[in-house]
């Protein structure tokens, strides 16, 4: 392994290849490979988006063709319908509330697991981690009864609270190592300065762990945005539906309007994608924190 001591390098002519390290263009091979990968990645998504511009008949008779003629009705109908926007709004509320809940509860719990030492710590961690291992489709029936007893049926809260609960395992698993990595010196220094443990938490931990927090926040947001099973069972009134339930409107008793479903789902993908790309840089550094020592 290379030596870790570095002498000032001014006197040594650097023979590094300029291209890579200076943020310039990579080699053509790299770009070619990247292009192929991106094309493969996006092709199915493109298929879904283009499918929204066709009719069901077109899709049946010419599965691989471009829309011919381009049918804008599907997309326009979706964009014009007030149900779409209402469901969009509901989805947004649910996702944001879930995210906030996950972040707040998750950071608090992870902080405890990361920086306190007490006998039940391993058990608490195992408790959260075990949540990953049970197929959720089975828990839905008793969960419904719990929600009913709380009087939260047909209420977005009845969706938000369980979603927070289900997101906690991943959150804790990612945040605990991250919070552990905050050097003790800072904590000790803060204590020496008279700051309480909780004060330290509020004033230093949260800003320092922001990348990790953003990571779990985005995971929670996307998870909530795409969730289907829980809203399906809890929400009854159409006014409370989230976007994922909106596809119901395009499936009748005996049939599904595939083209409209494709248009609808393409549009509902957008917010999650936008949210993700806005914070993409943070995710990378956030995950970096999770895996480093």
């Amino acid at each position: 392994m290379a030596a870790t001591t570095l002498e000032p390098t001014a006197a040594v002519p650097l023979k590094r290849r300029k291209s890579v390290e200076d943020g310039g263009w990579g080699s053509p091979t790299t770009y070619f490979v990247a292009l192929v990968v991106v094309a493969l990645t996006l092709a199915p998504v493109a298929y879904i988006v283009l499918g929204g511009f066709r009719t069901n008949s077109q899709i049946t008779t010419n599965p691989a063709a471009f829309p011919n003629p381009w049918k804008l009705d599907n997309y326009l109908e979706v964009l014009k319908s007030s149900t779409f926007w209402q469901q969009f709004f509901n989805s947004a509320i649910a996702a944001l509330a879930t995210t906030v809940g996950v972040v707040v509860l998750g950071v608090m719990a992870s902080y405890v697991l990361a920086r306190y030492h007490f006998r039940g710590r391993g058990a608490m961690f195992a408790l959260f981690a075990s949540g990953l291992m049970f197929p959720i489709t089975v828990a839905i029936t008793p969960l419904y009864l719990v929600i009913k007893d709380l009087g939260l049926l047909d209420n977005l809260l009845g969706v938000i609270l369980p979603q927070i609960a289900f997101a906690l395992p991943t959150t804790v698993i990612i945040l605990v190592p991250f919070l552990r990595a905050i050097p003790r010196e800072i904590e000790e220094a803060a204590t020496v300065d008279g700051c309480s443990r909780l004060g330290f938490f509020g004033r230093m931990v949260i800003p320092l762990s922001l990348p990790g927090v953003l990571t779990v926040g985005i995971l929670a947001f996307v998870g909530s945005w795409n969730s289907y099973l829980l809203p399906l069972f809890i929400l009854n009134n159409q006014e409370h539906f989230t976007l994922t339930l909106g596809v119901q409107a395009f499936s009748s008793q005996y049939s599904t309007d595939t083209a409209k479903v494709l248009a609808f789902t393409s549009l509902s993908m957008i917010p999650a994608l936008v949210f993700f790309s806005l914070f993409e840089r943070r995710i990378v550094s956030g995950l970096g924190g999770a895996v480093k020592g």
């Binding site: 790299t30 990968v37 199915p44 049946t60 828990a139 008793p142 609960a165 895996v291």
Partner: protein, 342 residues
């Protein structure tokens, strides 16, 4: 806290400041070399803080996850149609039937194939891609976003799209015919010889982005001085990757592998949407959870379905514990089991 304690910990924690060679990805800080001489008791004030901070999360978690799960497991001891209270107690009968059912065994087998193949296929590809994309080049940000898109797309949407594309009368076959490669058309979904590979293709598409991002994040923690020093010494880019980056990426890879394994054991949505519960069996891609839904909820056998869920839980738990013990042990301090060594 006394001053002497402060000094002690300062001295011992200093190792955290130096980017150690192991900085590539241990999930938990390695204990300081000297060990801690003092045993801190838990003061009542700390107990209060612990309760206040972790209380809400625990209450919510137990109420909405643990409680329903325990109830669901309770149902596993009954024969129950899902209406009214369960009254037909059958003890372990459901479990006996599950473990003897050749269809369940087939599903378990499929899960294991998927598990192994996921690791073998996605791992190397993701590492290669991460290495390629780790260079600071223009457009890196956009490419990273685009590669991550499949992960953000919901499984329902992805499933619908791939159903249409891969069905025998679907887009892929049609495309092949249109460009004259007609004899490459195949029954991608229901041919038992091909279906599993089709599934692996879809899974790779969906989850490779996550692996790539994870590895890239791990790479970012490898101090640049290492590669710079090696470059000065005359090492080429790929040599550096092979000798420095990859070994240091070890812990990251092991974490990714763990998530991948648990995901493979719990796989459901994509298979269910694309293949449907019945054809999944004949095509050789049924999983334990599709089996659970098929013979549980969809057959009206809620007790049986719950028992299957418990079986899946235990299998996942055993695998997780085993993995943690034998693979992760040297990286972590028991991130899953008792983490209280400090």
């Amino acid at each position: 806290m006394s001053d002497s304690q402060t000094e002690n910990s300062l001295a011992q924690e200093s190792s955290l400041e130096n980017p150690s060679p192991a900085g590539g990805g241990a999930i938990v800080a390695t204990p300081p070399a000297g060990g801690r001489p003092r045993r801190r008791g838990v003061s009542w004030r700390e107990r209060l803080e612990i309760t206040v901070l972790s209380g809400p999360a625990i209450i919510v978690f137990i109420g909405f996850v643990i409680l329903p799960v325990i109830l669901a497991a309770y149902y596993g001891f009954f024969r129950w149609k899902g209406y009214g209270r369960p009254t037909d107690f059958v003890g372990l009968h459901n479990y006996v039937v599950i473990l003897q059912d050749p269809e369940f065994r087939a599903a378990l087998e499929h899960n294991l194939y998927i598990l192994v193949l996921s690791l073998i296929i996605q791992g190397p590809i993701a590492i290669l891609l991460a290495l390629l994309l780790n260079r600071k080049m223009r457009g890196r940000s956009i490419i990273r976003v685009l590669i991550f898109v499949p992960w953000v797309v919901s499984e329902v949407i992805a499933g619908t799209g791939f159903s249409l594309m891969l069905s025998t009368q679907g887009a892929i076959n049609d495309l092949l015919r249109n460009v004259g490669l007609g004899h490459f058309t195949a029954d991608w979904l229901s041919d038992p010889n091909i279906a599993l590979w089709a599934l692996m293709g879809i899974l790779t598409w969906k989850y490779i982005g996550f692996a790539v991002i994870l590895f890239m994040a791990g790479m970012q923690n490898i101090p640049e001085e290492l590669s710079e020093a090696a470059a000065i010494d005359g090492a080429g880019y790929w040599q550096i990757q092979r000798r420095i980056t990859l070994p240091l990426l070890g812990p990251t890879i092991r974490i990714w592998a763990f998530l991948s394994i648990i995901g493979a054991l719990q796989l459901f949505d994509l298979v269910y949407i694309i293949w449907g519960q019945y054809v999944a069996g004949t095509a050789g891609v049924s999983t334990m959870v599709t089996y659970m839904v098929q013979y549980g909820r969809n057959a009206g056998n809620y007790g049986y379905g719950s028992a299957v869920a418990v079986v899946v839980f235990f299998i996942s738990l055993i695998v997780a514990l085993g993995y943690q013990r034998f693979v992760l042990r040297r990286d972590t301090e028991g991130a899953l089991t008792d983490g209280g060594k400090k």
